[in-house]
């Protein structure tokens, strides 16, 4: 997801290209003084934006950046796996102090290295990689301490790792640790649902209601958590995804509800109704607030939801060919509705 700085830089470049096109077509002819003033202002703006981080000033640079993001992710996975396997393969041959050092020091050193990388390499790719490996090393640290001292597994580890990743993400504006942080803290909140139900914390993951609340909190988080503008889309995207997936799961399997001891059919019907309202709400919210990601997730969820309803209602009733004809007609209807909505938006602009 592009940052606010990247969006501004892209807008400046697009403006220049369009202005050149208009001048070539004879639509407009700026006097040299005005053009120079605009150019100087935009150059200064681009220089200021570039000083705050690496920007893609051409399509080629953007493609290279995408490659760097993939490399960051692969590097994170590979380094984390290397660390995990190194620990496990040497574990049995080490004394206790060495074992503690082997799992305790890496998250500390990597957190410090994140700072160094963020200062020296402004693009943030290397810092993001190091910070994410640091968070994973911290998770390994806590898990291994649990094994060393025969401790029961605990939801507290999710909170600790999530908070650790969030600190590095917000401190240095790093996206990948933010995702780990949202996952950790969100997972911890999800498992809190096990407490009133008297379940072991892990079984909290089998109850959907808390994750719906987590999804809502994440969806609205940009309104009450200050931070880099580029984080807002990740919060909203992850929140909307969790909300949609949670609803789709529970409306088709009432056993996942905290209220599963009562009538399962009634629970599923209630969540089907709620799902229709929430998915429509997400699409409308996305359109009204001009948040494309929310609209896309809401639309994908709504289409899948309606497909499941079609299966519920017609799969047994209709011949297979007619059923899929109906699905095809339904997809066309969705296309027409979205096209109409898009036209209304374009005309409104």
């Amino acid at each position: 997801m592009p940052s606010a700085d990247q969006l501004r830089a892209s807008a400046i470049i697009a403006f220049r290209e369009e202005l050149a096109r208009l001048e070539a077509e004879g639509v407009v002819a700026l006097d040299p003084a005005t053009r120079d003033r605009i150019r100087a202002h935009q150059d200064a703006t681009l220089a200021a934006l570039a000083a705050g981080g690496e920007l893609d000033l051409s399509a080629t640079a953007a493609r290279l950046s995408a490659g760097m993001r993939v490399a960051t992710l692969l590097g994170t996975i590979a380094l984390s796996a290397a660390y995990g396997f190194f620990v496990s393969s040497h574990w049995g041959t080490l004394t206790l102090p060495l074992q503690l050092a082997l799992v305790g020091l890496p998250p500390v050193l990597l957190a410090a290295l994140t700072h160094v990388a963020a200062v020296r390499e402004r693009s943030g790719y290397v810092a993001s990689l190091i910070a994410t490996v640091a968070a994973i090393a911290f998770a390994v640290n806590l898990g291994t301490l649990g094994q060393l001292y025969n401790l029961p597994d605990s939801r507290g580890a999710l909170l600790a790792v999530g908070a650790f990743a969030m600190l590095l993400a917000y401190g240095y504006g790093l996206t990948l640790p933010l995702i780990v942080g949202i996952g950790g803290v969100g997972g911890w909140l999800w498992t809190l649902g096990a407490i009133p139900l008297g379940l072991w914390w892990r079984d909290g993951f089998t109850v959907v209601e808390p994750v719906l609340v987590v999804g809502l909190l994440a969806l609205t988080a940009p309104a009450w958590i200050r931070g880099p503008a580029k984080f807002a889309n990740w919060w909203r995207g992850m929140g909307a995804t969790v909300l949609v997936l949670g609803l789709l799961l529970v409306e088709s399997n009432g056993n996942l509800s905290a209220f599963a001891t009562t009538d399962l059919h009634a629970i599923e019907v209630a969540y089907k109704l709620l799902g229709a309202v929430v998915l429509t709400g997400l699409v409308v919210w996305g359109i009204r607030r001009d948040q494309r990601l929310i609209m896309q997730i809401g639309t994908a969820g709504a289409v899948f939801y309606l497909f499941m309803r079609l299966v519920d209602w017609f799969w047994e009733l209709l011949p297979k060919w007619l059923f899929f004809l109906l699905v095809g007609a339904f997809a066309l209807a969705v296309l027409l509705v979205l096209r109409r909505l898009r036209r209304v938006r374009v005309e409104a602009r």
Binding site: G92, Y170, G171, W200, T206, T261
Partner: protein, 220 residues
């Protein structure tokens, strides 16, 4: 730098809490139990990818229901009345499997050929369990299961397995393994040379702490 320092402080505090509480617990063990250790109980160690540990394997539920898993005990663990009423009967279409419930479990080694563990007592709180020099106490999850009759394995023509009665059982131990340090593992690996069964045995002294901790104090 303050953010990195904050993250480092979090690591230090989390490690400190675990290490200090574990050290306090181990400084004053509450009970001891001596158990038999066979080669089949050992996991990992040396250059293995798994950490060195003593596996606590619960024997299949062939014994009678231990105290704490009767109707009153299941109620105390928080199971719904509908689930409790289904115990001992065949599952019908209205039965819904309840989610497992956490409990404290007292385990004792069985005198079978594999020296596996059997739950001898289950309770929602640790202080409700008794203690003796042959049993250990760990957390566990109690779940409902279904007995099956007929030949084991995949059902094939003429060999149909039929569902039997529903019964509660200790489905999982937490932790399910006890960590062994390098010397303990080296001693046990060197002296337990048979790879299966319990032809050769050694003994381990298991300590239970006052706050629920458990560890291998020594092996001999």
């Amino acid at each position: 730098m303050k953010w990195a320092i904050g993250a480092i402080a979090l690591v230090v505090v989390a490690n400190g809490i675990v290490l200090v509480s574990a050290a306090r617990e181990r400084a004053a063990p509450a009970t001891f139990a001596t158990i038999d250790v066979c080669a089949g109980h050992l996991i990992g160690g040396g250059t293995s990818d798994e950490p060195p540990a003593l596996n606590l394997e619960v024997a299949p539920e062939s014994l009678s229901t231990p105290p704490g898993l009767d109707a009153a005990g299941l109620r105390a663990l928080g199971f719904a009345e509908a689930a409790i009423a289904a115990v001992g009967k065949q599952r019908d279409s209205t039965f819904r499997w309840p989610r497992p419930r956490p409990a404290w479990v007292r385990l004792r080694q069985r005198n079978d050929s594999l020296e596996r563990w059997a739950a001898v007592e289950v309770a929602p709180r640790r202080e409700l369990l008794g203690s003796d020099s042959a049993s250990i106490v760990v957390r566990g999850l109690v779940a409902f299961r279904e007995s099956w009759s007929g030949p084991p394995g995949r059902p094939v023509a003429g060999r149909v397995r039929t569902p039997g009665a529903i019964y509660p059982a200790v489905a999982e131990l937490i932790p399910s393994q006890l960590h062994l340090d390098r010397q303990q593992m080296a001693f046990l690996r060197a002296s337990l040379t048979d790879t299966a069964g319990c032809a050769t045995k050694r003994q381990a002294l298991i300590a239970n702490g006052a706050n629920g901790g458990i560890w291998v104090e020594s092996v001999r």
